[in-house]
């Protein structure tokens, strides 16, 4: 099952290369991502029903945590590929890109999907290769417009993330060294479960150094402050569907890497060391994102900084630990992926209508765009953590974990940051959504495909906000057992 899941995006990309017309590429892309979603869901149900899968010379490995990531990647990937049809079609119509560029877009879109799926279903060593590949394959997506700003963003992204990831490789090598000290040479069982089983025999000092390298390395890719500087640039300069993928899915992939090593390192040196580091980076990210959100004048950068904030909250959840904290953090990973994709889709629609990214040049979206407007308000409420949407639940769970684990001061600080961000963020949304639309803006919205994709996202965040289906919470509980 894993092999087919990984093959699908590659086949889709290859078919995309030979496609001749716009219609063909779009059809291939939609069918490809739909099949990826179906196989992803099949893998998820297989793992949750029959347990861990370990195949292909121990290189491919899937346990509940992997399945959880695969679920996020394939679900958001499918929805965004549907959204892409309209968005990129609009660019073609207006002559911003040509057919060749469109082909590049869809080919790399699916290759990017492949690398992110690989992150989820592989062992500790290949993980590094997969995460580095996510950077390399997403650069062509960011530079698709060949504008000055997007190339600058791509360069920063490439350089900063490559350096970060090189640190992570050193951490991975140190962990591998710790493994062969226990297993001896030729210990080929390097998947997460077997590493965890022997983690208590690892040399603690070594593991501490390794974890610091991993945390700084993959943390760069997650967008932890102060290594987050590439993130607002790349997220704001990429086409909106790509921003959604980068923010909603890619950041989660890097977070997944950190949490895997967090589990192993805690088994070796005790939870305190890694948890404190996670809490530190989480709080710092939250603190640095706050002023940038309040002062922001570009709505795509606003969303990017909001991603820094939410990654910080997820790190805090894992740092607080306990069943409650980890449950909250995992639930938040899912919620953030879905809500942020919605917000970037909304931002894409607004960008096409108003042709500006400046917040103060956008007004009256509710009047000028009858469907996107309400979605902007709903998404804005959801992303800032208001009830009855799912992010409220997960943030509440994480805070409850913080208070119950005795991190009183940290939790109070987090609460203050979240409230400040709510006020600042909603101030921007308010300005954009209500008041009078500028002269010369016609009333009208984007086509049905995009709106349909966005509607699915809204249903997801509202349903999980009021009622978590027992199967879903059961699934997260199984992941909690793996991560703990």
């Amino acid at each position: 099952m894993i092999k087919y899941l990984l093959l699908l995006p590659i086949i889709t990309a290859l078919l995309g290369i030979v496609a001749k017309t716009q219609k063909q590429i779009e059809t291939i892309s939609i069918i490809g991502s739909a099949c990826t979603l179906i196989f992803g869901l099949a893998l998820v149900s297989e793992v949750f029903r029959y347990g861990t899968i370990n195949t292909w010379e121990n290189i491919l490995f899937a346990d509940p945590f992997s399945a959880f990531l695969v679920l996020i990647v394939s679900l958001v990937g499918f929805i965004i590929s549907v959204y892409s049809i309209d968005y990129m079609g609009h660019e073609i119509q207006n002559g911003v890109i040509d057919l060749k560029k469109l082909k590049i877009y869809y080919v790399f879109f699916h290759l990017f999907m492949f690398t992110m799926l690989l992150v989820g279903v592989t062992n500790s060593l290949i993980l590094w290769i997969a995460i580095e590949m996510t950077t390399l394959f997403s650069v062509p997506l960011i530079t698709i417009y060949t504008k000055k700003t997007s190339i600058e963003a791509a360069w920063k992204y490439l350089i900063i993330c490559t350096v970060g990831i090189t640190f992570a490789l050193f951490g991975t090598i140190l962990t591998y060294y710790a493994t062969i000290q226990v297993l001896g040479e030729g210990g080929s069982e390097l998947n997460w479960a077997s590493l965890l089983a022997i983690a208590d025999q690892f040399d603690p000092t070594l593991m501490k150094i390794a974890f610091v390298f991993i945390l700084v390395g993959y943390g760069t890719k997650v967008g932890f402050a102060p290594m987050h500087t590439w993130l607002p640039d790349a997220h704001s300069e990429a086409p909106s569907p790509v921003s959604a993928l980068l923010s909603g899915v890619l950041l989660n992939c890097a977070m997944y890497g950190i949490i895997r090593f967090h589990t192993i390192t805690s088994a070796s040196v005790g939870t305190e060391f890694t948890s404190n580091l996670l809490i530190m980076f989480g709080l710092l990210s939250l603190g640095i994102a706050t002023p940038f959100i309040i002062m922001q004048d570009d709505y795509k950068r606003l969303l990017a900084y909001s991603s820094v904030e939410h990654m910080g909250i997820i790190a805090l959840g894992f740092g607080f630990g306990g069943v409650l904290g980890i449950f909250g953090a995992l639930f938040h990973m899912f919620n953030h992926a879905v809500t942020k994709s919605l917000m970037f889709s909304v931002a894409g629609n607004i960008l096409h209508k108003y042709e500006t990214k400046k917040i103060y040049e956008v007004s009256g979206v509710v009047k000028s765009m009858p469907y996107t407007g309400p979605m902007l308000v709903i998404g804005g409420l959801a992303i800032t953590g208001s009830p009855p949407f799912s992010i409220f639940l997960s943030e509440f769970t994480i805070l409850a974990a913080g208070f119950s684990q005795g991190y009183i001061l940290t939790s109070v600080l987090v609460l203050l940051f979240i409230i400040t961000i709510f006020v600042g963020f909603f101030n921007h949304i308010n300005r954009m959504a209500f008041s009078k639309p500028p002269e010369g803006i016609t009333v009208g919205d984007v086509s049905r495909w995009s709106l349909g994709a966005m509607l699915i996202l809204i249903v997801l965040i509202t349903v999980t906000g009021v009622y978590i289906p027992p199967q879903f919470s059961d699934m997260i509980m199984q992941v909690v057992d793996v991560v703990r």
Binding site: I126, W128, I129, E132, V163, F170
Partner: protein, 218 residues
């Protein structure tokens, strides 16, 4: 007899690798930098081959060969090709001058030496390799922030990669082959992608100066 010669040879090669890192920090001409990097990769390939010889791990020979082909020959060629195509100046422009650069490099080495002390090493004849490898991992990013041109920033990453490779053979005498191959693939693709982006930067900005890449702030 080889028991005495091989470890000694490895030690001196590692010393040369360290020296070449500092030469890179201290040189101001682009082509010299490319040559030094090629030379360093050659030394690295020799170390890998010698470790393969002394530990009897045949996989490492493949890695030595790949290092030779990709890092010592292919990547320097790509570099010279790119620099000719976009016509960069031969002089490397620096934010930090050579003397302070070397001083900072030296202190990074001292830090790495102390950090490496806390990790015990499996192959005794490689005792000095870990501090060298770690210092290369730290000097790489420093080189990137101290240089103005995008093309020369790539050197920083390559130095880090070389340091990492030295680290893998030092600590573990090689990771599983498929992993090493994957890492090589990533490095090669990485350099290619960076080359393409440098082209694009040159096309759109008509310069490869990083000073121009400063519009996105806040």
């Amino acid at each position: 007899m080889s028991d005495v010669i091989v470890p000694g040879l490895i030690q001196s090669l590692i010393a040369l690798i360290l020296a070449s890192t500092f030469m890179l920090l201290g040189s101001k001409r682009l082509y010299t930098c490319v040559r030094i990097f090629g030379f360093q990769s050659l030394l690295l390939a020799l170390v890998a081959a010698l470790v393969a010889y002394s530990t009897g791990k045949n996989e490492l020979y493949i890695m030595a060969l790949l290092t030779l082909i990709i890092k010592a020959i292919l990547i320097p060629h790509i570099f010279i090709m790119i620099s000719k195509k976009i016509g960069v100046k031969r002089e490397i422009e620096l934010y930090v001058n050579i003397a302070p650069s070397l001083l900072i490099g030296g202190s990074l080495f001292v830090i790495s030496y102390y950090l490496a002390q806390s990790i015990s090493i499996s192959v005794p004849q490689l005792n000095n390799a870990l501090p060298v490898s770690m210092s290369m991992i730290f000097i790489g990013p420093f080189m990137m922030i101290s240089r103005k041109k995008t093309l020369t920033q790539i050197f920083g990453i390559l130095i880090m990669e070389n340091g990492l490779f030295l680290g893998t053979i030092t600590l573990t005498s090689g990771m599983p082959l498929i992993v090493e191959l994957g890492i090589f693939f990533d490095v090669l693709v990485g350099v290619l992608v960076m080359g393409i982006v440098v082209f694009r930067i040159n096309e759109t900005f008509e310069t490869t100066d990083t000073d121009e890449l400063r519009t996105l702030i806040g």
